[in-house]
Symmetry: C2
């Protein structure tokens, strides 16, 4: 595969991000537009092609383009280059995204799972760049993940490996959007942490309306799903960063929900350790905006639970590329040219 | 690597098994002797060499020997060919087994984790032979496992990947010999199932001695660790097969312990599905002597818990090679010659 540049596309439910990346992993030009997912696939694919042409023009002095990498929500069929379906992209059913985009751009296109593309970005140019075996967990709307062993993304027989957000960490635990119960995603995504805090506050309001007198410490200590009640002020715009801040300040509800997220992340990291034996597990996404407060909590819970048979605990580190990991990784896959479907 | 034969060695805590295997996976000659592990490593390595020479003599008319594969308990250092330590082999500390055996036999030697060797045997000649991506769980004294992706054993950065018996299936659950709590091994090994039934019977005796009147249904329905009490007759020689038989006949204690083993196996299979996306998970070891009663129970629990996003559930199948998987797999690794350390 020749060419000194590659296009990386990150197809999100909210934004469409297109970048031209050089072989050193630097973004030479970038465009971001709203996905407007409700329009269905065809206009979105047209937008992807249009933005790709824009960034190519912007970076035309930098060299030739080797091809296009697209990180897309899945499940996907990598062999046929199709999006099988997507929870956040209505109308994408068995959509031959790879070939449609290749036709429009007259360039070879690689399709990859969005979380895998981000993991590959961190592997190539971020927190995983000095090793061959790593796992990335992207703790955002859901918990996405990608696994790299011997420098290659793991896909497995059904091409859907590395969906570690759906490892079960609590038997018969909280329901997950996927239909299972007790998934890591139900405890450790930015969305689920926020949802649990808000649900507890609403329960608190209901109980106060019935005459209950709640204090911040009236939070029940058990692990019952979404039945906590608390008086945490509801005037804040709640997101994972706010919750991390308030947990750091000692708020009981936020501390408990944050701590449970870290405990189940640690338990997941132990299962990841024994499954893949990676050198490191990289934490990214909205939850990782809490930085060391996330990382150190997970490490602490990990050390409390680790085995004694071997010194093979992965290092827990923070992602380095932030929201650029997806486009950088998608472009990196073009250079690596590691897909047989090319 | 030339030669139509390879030697496979299965170094167990109880028995030492040495076989000559041809390129079709057939055992041409075999010797089994007691390990007598208390003797320490040197005499055992001499026995391995002596048994290898015996089987080579027995099979000398069949062709030349390409090399020796050894499946050993671990953790191991594959790069240096050393046994780092072993719970069942006293005195094996940083033991250069590969090189010591190669010197004695004047043949190249591959060292591999025993559960990985068994998994490779099933991949090469058993229940995994028509696919490239599989996981094997050996439910015996512990829960050993091996993972094969794209036709190769997964080792990971610390060379200790695929220790799936120590995935955590119950947060803060039963203690495991490894120092963690809630490992799959604590619920689904033949040993742990037997231990749990016996502990419940002993608790029953203690309670009856104090005047409690127990019936088989007095078994508490909760999941408290080892606090069950039951009147199940203690005259039987208890092992996993007996427990499976009695569970099949409806005995409440055995049914509950057996059922929990199957539930946690199903939960582990779901996490394995999302981690590796294998075509199949192969169940072997003492628990698998229950055959379809194990397999069908695990499948039933799996179907109750599976996700709805993709049709990527692995097939759950029984191992086919029984106790020969280890020697066949170890020999197969010689033919595959897939170790850089060769």
């Amino acid at each position: 595969m020749n060419g000194s540049l590659a296009i990386g596309i990150d197809l999100g439910g909210t934004n469409l991000k297109v970048a031209v990346v050089d072989r050193q992993g630097r973004i030479a030009a970038q465009q971001v537009g709203p996905t407007n997912a409700e329009r269905g696939p065809q206009p979105i694919i047209e937008d992807m092609a249009a933005l790709a042409n824009l960034v190519l023009r912007d970076a035309s002095s930098c060299g030739d383009c080797a091809g296009v990498g697209v990180g897309s929500p899945g499940p996907l069929s990598l062999r046929t280059g199709r999006v099988i379906r997507s929870a956040n992209l209505p109308g994408w059913e068995d959509m031959p995204l790879r070939d449609l985009l290749a036709q429009r751009l007259s360039l070879p296109v690689i399709l990859e799972n969005d979380a895998n593309a981000a993991a590959y970005g961190e592997f190539w140019m971020g927190a995983g760049r000095d090793g061959a075996d790593m796992v990335m967990l992207t703790l955002g709307t859901g918990v996405g993940s990608g696994v790299i062993l011997d420098g290659r993304l793991v896909h497995g027989h059904f091409e859907n490996a590395g969906e570690l957000g759906h490892m079960i960490v609590v038997p018969d635990g909280l329901p997950c959007g996927c239909g299972q119960r007790g998934c890591l995603e139900a405890y450790a995504s930015a969305t689920s942490v926020t949802r649990r805090v808000i649900a507890a506050m609403e329960e608190g309001k209901r109980q106060e309306a019935k005459g209950a007198i709640l204090t911040p410490t009236s939070l029940r200590p058990g692990a019952g799903p979404l039945r906590e009640a608390s008086r945490v002020p509801s005037s804040l715009a709640w997101d994972a960063s706010t919750i991390a801040d308030r947990a750091r300040q000692g708020d009981p509800l936020c501390s408990r929900v944050w701590s449970e997220a870290c405990i189940y992340l640690a338990i997941a990291c132990i299962s990841i350790q024994h499954a893949f034996n990676p050198a490191r597990v990289i934490l990214g996404g909205g939850m990782a905006q809490a930085g060391a407060f996330l990382r150190d909590n997970v490490i602490q819970e990990l050390h409390r639970r680790q085995w004694s048979l071997h010194s093979d605990l992965p290092a827990i580190v923070l992602a380095e590329l932030g929201p650029d990991a997806g486009v950088i990784g998608a472009a990196g896959l073009v250079f690596a040219n590691c897909h047989e479907s090319w």
